[in-house]
Symmetry: C2
Subunit: 251 residues, 2 copies
DNA sequence: CGTGCCAGGTGCCAT
DNA sequence: ATGGCACTTGGCACG
């Protein structure tokens, strides 16, 4: 019996679903008219309305309204769930420590209470991430320019971590900042920070923003700062393997 | 009849729930053993497992595994749902245009099919955001320093938009970059970009990072760049009202 | 743990 | 639509 569900449950029914669901590490889903209070890093109030509530066995807690991809309120994994029973209503409370955050759902009317003892050992395989773009350029440095050689991947420098660090055919140090999508002002600032950092210890340093495209503002700032752009799209192929720290001595 | 649910539904039952749910603008929730394919900005595959699927009337589509706050796969609001019926299984397809993205869920076994015709007119009221911090400082500029006056809120400059722009008691232009939480390298880079921008047209410009705290790296970079820090925590009080563009002529 | 940074980020609001 | 940026960002990998 993987699943259990009760429409318009009595208070006893509801409490059964909750305790069985929690103790059996199931995913609990409740349709309810409710009100929500949150206090922690921020603070929020949500008045009465119909929502979908999900409680996962890892402590994740989601409250969804009828619109948007994002939950209106939530609690991250690791939070602890408990419930209080009052005269005519049940209150579900989720507490997170460090930072201390509490989420309180006042259930005014429950339309459906259910849980699923989910078995799932599969993990997502994702193609087209920046990590894959990095590996791709690492293996095919010529897509940046002829004679380009990679020295480091994910190299920590004074203020931050550089995606790729290499040398051009003239021996200049080259910093690459990769973006899997259209690069914006933030990306240019990031690249500029790395270039300025490295210029302090090494002579000339080139900075290249590598992305499928640029926003108008990014282009303006990039040109003003004497930085460069190479158009590269993230490859959508199966990730080969964990390409860890690659170090080629000093530089 | 706000809610409908069927445990271990027949294919006909399932199709009824889906079409009734979609046409009545309900939130549809399905517990199922399934497999998922996604292709769009990136590409992903997810093997067989038990998941919770949510389809919202605005086109939002969520697939949740038993862990994490984030859906393993999803589709944003505005996507269009349809379904294909095969011999022994149903396939739910969600398509987004611009960018073109498709999400396909192959339902191998459905444990529970349900929907809720949710009525909800309430919106979240949130306290402690950066916007509130901005309004707070706008109204109480002395929390930055004695004699500080605000000139602009959300002021667009050459490369970006400054949170707050003002003048100190000596007449120097002052840029404030606000963070509702511990400020990091990114915040410092952002502030530096604004300060450099304004220095080109105006004489001396001070940059102050306003946040509850700083990361170690942010502190180092901030000091090296001659920028300043003021410790301010975001206020958790009810938002007063929409404080729009505040312009005090030129500066 | 804190620091740094990506994300199929999402959402909001501006031009 | 594009742009610039915040978010209770979440999640991960590394020191």
């Amino acid at each position: 019996m993987k699943v259990k569900s009760i429409e318009n449950p009595s208070q006893e029914d509801l409490l059964n679903i909750l305790s069985e669901g929690l103790s059996s590490e199931a995913i609990i889903t409740i349709f309810a008219h409710c009100r929500v209070h949150y206090d922690g890093r921020a603070k929020s109030e949500l008045g009465n309305g119909d929502r979908v509530i999900i409680i996962k066995p890892d402590g994740s807690f989601l409250i969804h309204q009828r619109e948007k991809r994002e939950p209106v309120n939530w609690q991250p994994p690791g939070s602890r769930v408990s419930f209080q029973v009052e005269e005519d209503r049940v209150r579900i409370i989720s507490v997170r420590r460090k930072p201390r955050e509490t989420l309180e759902v006042e259930l005014l009317k429950v339309y459906l209470a259910s849980y699923l003892q989910a078995e799932d050992s599969e993990e997502l395989t994702l193609m087209g991430s920046e990590a894959e773009m990095r590996d791709y350029i690492f293996e095919n440095p010529e897509v940046i320019e002829e004679g380009f050689k990679v020295l480091f991947k994910e190299k920590p420098i004074k203020h931050g971590i550089v995606d790729l660090l290499g040398r051009d055919k003239d021996g200049n140090l080259v910093v690459l900042e990769l973006k899997r999508r259209r690069a914006d002002l933030h990306a240019v600032s990031q690249l500029k920070r790395y270039v300025e950092d490295l210029k302090e210890e090494h002579g000339n340093v080139r900075g290249i923003l590598v992305a499928p495209s640029l926003t108008s503002g990014a282009k303006k700032l990039l040109e003003k700062e004497g930085l460069e752009f190479r158009r590269v799209k993230p490859p959508k192929r199966e990730k080969a393997q964990r390409g860890k720290q690659k170090t080629l001595d000093s530089f």
